[in-house]
């Protein structure tokens, strides 16, 4: 990590020394009064500018006047003051202050400010990632990744949704890499194991705990200590396993198979599934309490067919140093294809083309290497779940439709972080319709188990 240039504007000499200690490792400059601070801000570039508001005896909050100057010079203005009246705080923020903290716990406040700055760093991290490790020109996906990066340094769980091949694992690895967590990124595909094997893989086991356990084995939970545990295909996990894992997540402790003492692990959860979470919940494949514990911030990755602007940049990225040129009709065909295997399919295609093509890539070459079976059509049953169908048979189509609508509304509200207005706009419905549907669905639900 490169050093930050920091300016501390503080009149109290002892406080300056204290700040110097807390900012050890960064390039720190000091100003004891407003004129010096102004001169330094105009002459150099500072990533962060910590500003005390009252600078010297009889000073009338001259630190406030430094905020717009610092902001205009591309600095991140942070006010540190022992005066925290509502009026002062409002004035500081109105002038462009990014953070305002009350003096008294500098060790924590300074470290937290730097961590937030590094996370945000004016979106530079996001720009870098979106140009290299997770290439996308799609505005929605860019916004999503940028937003997710703001949460990387927290312990909050993240859930990644999206069809197979959309980059969920890549994104999970990136989020871990930028989390600042010193432990490892430990991934497990829950669909690849039977229940017993998954338990042994996750929790580990002691020698002799079952036939074939010839030695102690550390589980994924322990391996992910101080790191990230990535649970892929979380919908494939049995209910029983979900209960056990929920307990381990909440208590940060667990018993390996055959162990009589608990082990402790400070892991952060990122989970992923290509299935519709609402259907998993409705069909009781995913326990609600477990879902609540693991979903945290939810990121829905769009299929490649819905972000065609990414196809050509990804083609270039996958070819490495080699550059490919496509005939216009070949390019058109590429862009028209719906890429059911998403990025994974595109990568395989580029590798084939890159390895075997000489000269311009023609339409014939493209057609030869693109899987003719376009998107595997969704099974008809996916259009309506069994539970929805049974609900319609038992309570009538209107009641089932209300249940379905309520499910869509609730999901939309959840994905908008509880903001009903945003859900209303996206679903193009009125507030009256929203409440009426939720109420009708609630009544129906009261009469049966729902779906």
């Amino acid at each position: 990590m490169s050093k930050l240039n920091i300016l501390v504007v503080e009149d109290n000499v002892l406080a300056r020394e204290v700040m110097a200690e807390h900012l050890a490792g960064q390039v720190v400059d000091f100003a004891a009064d407003r004129p010096t601070a102004e001169r330094k801000l105009k002459a150099g570039h500072y990533d962060i500018c910590f500003i005390d508001l009252v600078l010297g005896e009889g000073d009338d909050y001259s630190g406030l006047k430094l905020i717009p100057l610092a902001a205009s010079r591309g600095s991140y203005p942070v006010v540190m003051s022992s005066c925290d009246t509502e009026e002062t705080i409002s004035r500081a923020y109105a002038l462009g202050c990014k953070e305002f903290y009350v003096k008294g716990d500098e060790a924590h406040s300074v470290a937290a400010t730097i961590a937030r700055y590094m996370r945000d760093d004016g979106g530079k991290s996001a720009q870098k990632i979106l140009a290299g490790d997770f290439i996308t020109n799609d505005p929605e996906t860019r916004a999503l990744v940028s937003e997710a990066l703001k949460y990387t340094a927290t312990d909050l769980p993240l859930m990644l949704l999206g069809p197979s091949g959309t980059g969920k694992t890549t994104l999970a690895q990136l989020l871990h890499a930028h989390s600042g967590r010193e432990g490892d990124f430990v991934a497990i595909n829950c669909a690849a194991y039977s229940e017993d094997l998954l338990e042994a893989e996750l929790f580990g086991y002691k020698r002799g705990s079952f036939t074939g356990a010839h030695e102690n084995r550390t589980g994924k939970l322990a391996q992910a200590d101080k790191g990230t545990l990535f649970l892929d295909e979380i919908g494939a996990m049995s209910q029983n396993m979900q209960v056990k894992l929920l307990k381990a997540i909440e208590e940060k402790s667990f018993y390996p198979l055959g162990a009589d003492k608990p082990e402790y692990s400070d892991f952060r959860i990122i989970s992923a599934t290509l299935e519709d979470v609402q259907i998993l919940l409705a069909e009781n494949k995913l326990r609600f309490d477990f879902f609540q514990r693991v979903h945290g911030m939810t990121l829905l990755l769009k299929p490649l067919a819905r972000r065609k602007c990414d196809i050509m940049p990804l083609v270039q990225a996958f070819t490495g140093k080699k550059r490919l040129a496509f005939a216009p009709e070949a390019r058109e065909y590429l862009l028209a294809h719906n890429w059911p295997g998403n990025t994974r399919e595109l990568k395989r295609f580029v590798e084939l083309i890159g390895a075997g093509t000489q000269g311009m890539v023609t339409l014939e070459t493209v057609k030869r290497h693109i899987t003719p079976a376009a998107a595997p059509s969704r099974p008809a049953k996916a259009a309506v779940t069994q539970a929805q169908y049974e609900c319609a048979l038992r309570h009538g189509l209107a009641a089932a439709a209300d249940q379905f609508s309520a499910g869509v509304i609730n999901r939309c509200i959840m994905e908008n972080h509880g903001k009903k207005a945003a859900a209303l706009a996206q679903l193009k419905i009125s507030k009256t319709l929203l409440y009426a549907t939720l109420e009708r669905a609630g009544r129906t639900e009261g009469n049966h188990d729902g779906y």
Partner: protein, 59 residues
């Protein structure tokens, strides 16, 4: 200085003394000496401010 300004400076001084005291525990010896000197200076300023607040003559 008005009473409000004096109180503001008193708060500032008290906070810097508290932070510096916390740092004394893990300072190198030469740094510790420097901190102690600065802390004394802040304490003298604090005395002066308290006297001003009491309306006593400053000395």
């Amino acid at each position: 200085m008005t009473d409000t300004e004096i109180i503001h400076r008193l708060k500032s001084n008290a906070i810097s003394l508290k932070d510096a005291a916390a740092l004394l525990e893990r300072c190198a010896p030469e740094k510790k000496t420097k901190f102690i000197g600065l802390m004394r200076e802040v304490m003298r300023d604090t005395e002066r401010l308290l006297a001003a607040l009491e309306g006593k003559p400053q000395g």
